[in-house]
């Protein structure tokens, strides 16, 4: 009887164990697959949002450029044409000389506008002197707006290639625009560091920050920054309190 008991109990027990292992494998694997699908769907949705925000930003840039060209350069060229027509018809030498001076002034204005628009599109200092110099120029221009900007950007700071440096330049422009539009800050502090992990940027302002709901919603500006960083395997970390916001960016080398 003992043999029967051991045999039956043992065999049944092992059958149950086998059944348990197989059931666990099937059920657990199904859950893992579902989780993976969910993660992939979330990633895809996020990528679509980033792409959408990039397209919107591009269109907005184009609109702004079109408006700048029309309102500034276009208007000046029209005024220039009128002045030249008048100068052409003028027979009095002194008046002609005055009108030609006006033409020269309008040409200078049109040239300055074109230069400004061109620098906005592609800062010349970036390619010639590097990221640190370009950011220095940018921050110097932005300081005239009334915001107190302090920066610690070591000369020679770079994230490795010109495309990445341009992305960092644009990100700085975006962060500044966000600060001006949303935070009400009066001071901005920027620190840049070439570390072993990559190029680290810490951007602080003393604005009123934003709530976690606002951060979760993520405005166009933050999405643009994320979109640019994703191309260069960069990381973005934003923390906020009523005393201000801190944005940490890390761009790892290729």
């Amino acid at each position: 009887m003992n043999i029967y008991f051991v045999l039956i109990a043992g065999t049944l027990g092992m059958c149950l164990l086998a059944g348990g292992i197989i059931t666990f494998t099937v059920v657990y694997r199904k859950r893992l697959m579902e989780q993976q699908v969910l993660i992939k769907e979330t990633e895809l949705r996020h990528q679509k949002e980033l792409l959408h925000s990039t397209i919107i930003t591009q269109e907005n840039e184009r609109k702004r450029l079109a408006a700048d060209l029309h309102d500034e350069v276009g208007a000046m060229l029209a005024a220039l044409r009128l002045a030249l027509s008048q100068a052409q018809k003028q027979e009095d030498k002194d008046l002609k000389k005055a009108q030609l001076s006006e033409v020269k002034r309008l040409v200078d204005l049109a040239s300055n506008s074109t230069r400004r628009i061109s620098h906005d599109l592609m800062p010349p200092a970036l390619e010639t002197f590097g990221l640190a110099a370009a950011l220095g120029d940018l921050l110097a221009n932005l300081s005239t707006s009334g915001l107190k900007i302090t920066a610690d950007i070591p000369p020679g700071s770079t994230c490795g290639n010109s495309a990445c440096d341009l992305a960092i330049y644009r990100i700085m422009q975006e962060l500044y625009a966000n600060t001006v539009k949303h935070s009400g800050a009066t001071e901005i502090d920027i620190k840049m560091n070439n570390t072993d992990a990559g190029l680290e940027i810490i951007y602080r302002d003393n604005g009123h920050g934003f709530t976690s709901d606002q951060k979760a919603g993520k405005g166009l500006g933050l999405k643009n920054i994320e979109s640019r960083l994703s191309v260069f395997h960069g990381e973005l970390n934003v923390s906020s309190s009523p005393e201000g916001s801190v944005t940490r960016i890390l761009v790892r080398p290729d």
Binding site: Y4, V6, L7, I21, T25, R29, L32, M33
Partner: protein
């Protein structure tokens, strides 16, 4: 009941064909690992043929079981060695295979004579087999190569081995004492074992059929 189980036991000599035929049909689609697995029903079939010959000649076939135990385990270890190539240290499964072979030979020569069931070696074979299958299921969960488990040859192979070794463990360990239980009891017990043998080769057959 005795006649039902005796028929089940009798036809179990053809059970390896449940895996062999699909394996040969799908042979060109089989990966290297699955081709090694195909050797298991081949060895099973050859052993069944040898058993029939020995029976017709009136010779005992228990010594053949001692040899078949070693061959079967070496084939299973080869299969799992290929399956776990990237998961486990390279020499682990070959070491286990060599160790088991040496142990089985010592068992047959000095511990359990070849005229009796080599229940100790068979029990150890089952335990090692169960361990391999548990690692195999873990691999299936971790890798998630196939979207559907039904289409995974590894799943079906592991399923077959797990059911086979689990259900056989106690039957094989107690195979010697069982001989004193009487004819009917032995027919029932070996008949139940034969049913699981059919499931085993059927699982292997499905594994070959879903290979691509």
């Amino acid at each position: 009941m005795k006649s039902v189980f005796s028929k089940i036991i009798f036809y179990s000599q053809y059970a390896p064909l449940l895996a062999l035929i699909p394996g040969l049909i799908r042979f060109r689609y089989l990966s290297r690992t699955m081709k090694v697995l195909l050797l298991t029903p081949v060895a099973g079939m050859l052993t069944e043929i040898a058993i029939v010959i020995l029976r017709d000649l009136g010779l005992p076939n228990l010594p053949l079981l001692h040899i078949y135990t070693i061959i079967q385990f070496l084939l299973i270890a080869w299969f799992y060695g290929l399956l776990f190539k990237r998961m486990l240290p390279r020499l682990l499964i070959p070491s286990i295979a060599i160790g088991f072979t040496i142990f089985s030979i010592i068992n047959s020569l000095f511990i359990q004579p070849i005229s009796t069931y080599n229940s100790i070696a068979l029990g150890l074979q089952c335990l090692l087999g169960i361990s391999f299958t548990i690692i195999g299921f873990y691999k299936i969960m971790a890798e998630m190569k196939e979207l559907s488990l039904i289409k995974s040859p590894e799943f079906w192979a592991n399923l077959g081995f797990l059911l086979y070794f689990s259900t056989n463990l106690f039957i094989l360990i107690l195979s010697n004492p069982m001989m004193s239980l009487g004819e009917t009891a032995n027919y029932i017990i070996w008949g139940v074992r034969a049913i699981f043998l059919y499931f085993f080769y059927l699982s292997l057959g499905v594994a070959f059929m879903v290979s691509k």
